[in-house]
């Protein structure tokens, strides 16, 4: 019976191989396909600096054709449209979006927006969107990171917003565009040199150094600006409290990427000749950087989330003992207080926030993170895409931006957000020395956002290509391995680091 099966399969396979003969065979050196070429003129350096907005060359090849929206297009308010918005927001944020949808419905009664939380993390969202693109059931608007957008771009799925932005009636005026924080705005343009805009900034954050303010005051520490300063403090603490772990860093991924930037160690970038994204982190500068932190971890001065049994390091921080400073996302600012027991809070536990320390003061760098919103091309259904655009525009409005930031700690993405009544009221509520956890949170959030604004010139993002997210998670895992590795001696450690770097690199490019 089963022998028959085998024959049957064998035949099937034979026929396939016959097909093979009929088919064209690949020339040895073949140029990469569409997406890669489009980015080929992209700046050669390892990361696209955002503070200095890249020069636009309209003749450069476009990653996707700009959708042609005639200037005289008018919104057809008679026919109903339904647009889908996929995201991964937590409950509270989702509630806000739902509120916006109802408000938006009042403005445009004929547009129905269906928001949906399709996954737990952005990669999963991207997977779903990718699959839905294959199946032709993709949403109109999706929340996500640039590398996902790059992924969609392989199917020419993202909608180029340029003509929508430039539309006299429904678009954005120049000052409206300038109202966006330049760095964030530029990110939407970072996919090619033709100035194609594929995304609008949505919820943005960076990493900040959160420290136990009273404790610092008590021992007369100044807020550290470099890692050396930070670890000097850490050692001092350690000398006082032997079982303390003075400093925590929540995201290993971020630590590696940011530190690499600060150490001026290549991480990822675009190959100058082929123009394809490439992985570069396997170099000595990066290894030195890793060794620097590994040393601190070994000396019990530092801990990361993975080393903390997958608990945010703020977890220990909140106990007002052992851990007195940590680097976390400003998006989660409030968690510096949330969960801290009342007794701790009443005992005078207060949190301060500062920019991320850097290796040298000359080369500060701070990762800029947080998802954007991207529109997806819906064939030639202009009205539908216009509707989607309008909602996107609405969500990124000053009012909304402010509304979204205050509870979360994400920074408003538009300057005018700070002029809104809502923001003013919020500012008014902030008290100099809060006595309730809620007040303290508000104060801290405000400080975090200020920090965000003041340092936005130090923001950077990494190159965006089909392996970038894989690289990101891999370097994180790499860091954890090395930190957790129990080295016999210097040489052993070096060899281990080398092998691990090598493996990780092979793994990613393979």
């Amino acid at each position: 019976m089963l022998l028959k099966t085998f024959q049957f399969k064998a035949i099937a396979f034979a026929s396939l191989t016959l097909l093979l003969a009929a088919c064209e065979t690949r020339p040895s050196s073949e140029n990469p396909t569409s997406m890669d070429q489009s980015t080929s003129e992209n700046s050669g350096d390892s990361t696209t600096s955002i503070s200095s907005s890249a020069s636009i060359d309209p003749t450069a090849p476009k990653i996707v054709n700009w959708y042609n929206l005639p200037q005289d297009t008018v919104l057809d308010t008679t026919t109903e449209v339904t647009i889908n918005f996929w995201h991964r927001m937590g409950a509270s944020s989702q509630a806000i979006v739902q509120k916006w949808i109802t408000e938006f419905k009042v403005l445009y009664p004929h547009i129905t927006v269906v928001e949906e939380r399709v996954a737990n993390d952005y990669t999963a969202v991207a997977d779903k969107v990718a699959l839905s693109i294959t199946a032709g059931t993709e949403p109109d608007i999706v929340e996500g990171y640039p590398d996902s957008v790059a992924r969609y771009a392989q199917a020419k799925a993202p909608l180029a917003l340029n003509n929508f932005i430039n539309h006299p009636e429904y678009g954005l005026t120049q000052e409206q565009q300038d109202d966006f924080l330049p760095g964030l705005w530029a990110e939407g343009r970072s996919y090619d040199n033709a100035g194609t805009i594929l995304s609008l900034p949505f919820t943005k954050s960076t990493e900040g150094l959160f420290y136990n303010a009273p404790y610092f005051a008590q021992h007369g520490y100044d807020v550290p600006r470099t890692w050396d300063e930070l670890f000097a403090i850490a050692e001092d603490i350690k000398s006082r409290e032997p079982n303390a772990i003075p400093f925590g860093y929540d995201s290993e991924d971020n630590l590696f990427i940011t530190a690499a930037k600060q150490w001026d160690a290549p991480y990822t970038g675009y190959n100058a000749t082929t123009g394809r994204g490439e992985v570069l982190f396997n170099n000595n500068e990066a290894k030195d950087m890793v060794k620097y932190f590994k040393d601190k971890v070994d000396r019990g001065l530092m801990i990361t989330r993975a080393l903390n049994a997958d608990a945010y390091t703020s977890d220990i921080f909140k106990t007002n003992s052992r851990l007195y400073m940590y680097v976390g996302s400003t998006g989660g600012t409030r968690y510096a207080y949330i969960g801290a027991s009342a007794s701790v809070f009443d005992s005078g536990y207060r949190v301060g926030v500062a920019p991320l320390p850097s290796q040298t003061l000359e080369r500060p760098a701070q990762i800029q993170q947080g998802p954007n919103i991207t529109l997806l091309r819906k064939g030639n259904n202009t009205q539908r895409m216009l509707a989607a655009w309008l909602f996107a525009k609405y969500m990124t409005g000053a009012e909304q931006s402010a509304e979204f930031s205050i509870p979360s700690g994400y920074a408003p993405i538009r300057f005018s957000a700070y002029q809104t009544q809502r923001w003013q009221n919020y500012e008014a509520t902030i008290v100099a020395n809060p006595t309730t956890s809620a007040d303290a949170q508000n104060k801290l959030v405000r400080e975090a956002i200020e920090m965000f604004l003041e340092n936005s010139q130090n923001f950077f993002t990494s190159a965006v290509f089909n392996l970038s997210s894989k690289t990101r998670t891999e370097v994180g895992a790499l860091l954890v391995k090395i930190f957790a590795y129990d080295a016999a001696d210097e040489t052993d450690l070096n060899s281990y680091i080398n092998t691990q770097f090598g493996e990780s690199y092979d793994f990613i490019v393979n």
Binding site: M1, L2, K4, T5, F8, K9, G90, A91, S92, Q94, V114, E116, R117, V118, N120, D127, K128, L131, S132, T134, A135, G136, T137, R305, A309, D310, A311, Y312, S314, D315, K318, G332, Y335, I338, G339
Partner: protein, 314 residues
């Protein structure tokens, strides 16, 4: 004479001796058996003991205690209630009961449809003879060896073309139920059983003017009920353990318990530690395990003879 008697006694004595030896050997063997079984049983049971233990610990204990506790420091049965009340941000505020409901629903229909189709196909393959039967059976056997992931993507495209993916309605259920409704493994198992039902019964039924279909349901199915019960259990288990496929196709509201068990209970709402609240997780696991355990205890007899049948050559 006396000597003889003495001899006899002696022999009897030796005889007793033999008996004793045998008895002790027997005893020894039993002791061995029971110790072996008990040890194995212990090994098997430990994870469950642990599951229960954790499921009764307080959140504070699972998050902050610095050494394992073999019994809950603070006995907190309320976990079992909280599992249902707990709506973690990570799950977009869809609570456990919803997932349980989905699972039960899906399990019900997959079992119903799946078993029904398995019976039909197995019958056709085992009883009726028609051109190309062997070919079909061969192909089926071959597909039994396919790793499921070879099918995932194409199937995803198919179901989404049918508009079932992330559908906010029964569509999501269809997407979870339909694609893997027909299980070749079960067909195989059932066919083996059917094969063993003597042909004469079929001829007799024919003579009694019984149609094929009626014969299937009135004679074959009752005779194969143990195998069918087994299939049902396997089906339910399948749904209970379904992970990847349903996670891909169904949107949050329509996913099944496994997803919940794995990715929910991430502690963001309470203390923001970002850790998994294992006590809730385990409580939930216990909740989904118990009904199946009862099911088994209830059907033990059938299941046992059922699965063993499947082994016999057909």
């Amino acid at each position: 004479m006396a000597k003889a008697i003495h001899l006899n006694i002696n022999q009897d004595y030796q005889f007793d001796q033999k008996l004793k030896i045998q008895r002790t050997a027997q005893l020894f063997r039993n002791i061995l058996l029971y110790t072996f079984l008990t040890v194995m049983a212990f090994v098997v049971i430990v994870p469950f003991y642990w599951m229960l233990n954790v499921s009764f610990q307080s959140s504070n204990e699972v998050l902050n205690s610095l050494n394992v506790s073999f019994f809950p420091k603070v006995f907190s049965p309320q976990n079992y209630l909280n599992v249902f009340l707990y709506s973690s941000a990570a799950q977009g505020n869809i609570d456990f009961s919803r997932y349980l409901f989905n699972t039960v629903l899906v399990a019900f229909f997959t079992t119903l449809g799946g078993t029904f189709f398995s019976i039909l196909v197995a019958f056709a393959l085992a009883r009726l003879n028609f051109k190309g039967r062997d070919l079909i059976f061969t192909i089926l056997l071959a597909t039994m060896m396919i790793p499921g992931e070879m099918l995932v993507i194409s199937n995803f495209v198919t179901v989404s073309r049918l508009g079932w993916v992330n559908a906010n309605d029964a569509g999501s259920y269809l997407a979870v139920i339909i694609p893997f409704l027909v299980s070749i493994f079960h067909i195989y198992l059932l066919r083996q059983t059917f094969k063993q039902i003597p042909n004469e019964l079929y001829y007799a039924a024919k003579v009694d003017g019984c149609t094929d279909f009626k014969y299937l349901w009135k004679v074959m199915v009752p005779m194969a009920k143990s195998s069918i019960v087994t299939i049902i259990i396997l089906r339910i288990m399948g749904t209970w353990n379904a992970y990847i496929w349903q996670d891909i196709v169904a949107n949050e509201k329509y996913k099944l318990v496994t997803t919940w068990l794995r990715s929910s209970f991430v502690d963001l709402a309470d203390t923001g530690s970002g850790r998994v609240l294992t006590n809730y997780q385990m409580a939930a696991t216990v909740i989904v395990t118990v009904p199946l355990l009862l099911l088994f205890i209830f059907f033990r007899k059938y299941i046992m003879s059922g699965v063993s049948r499947s082994g016999v050559k057909g």
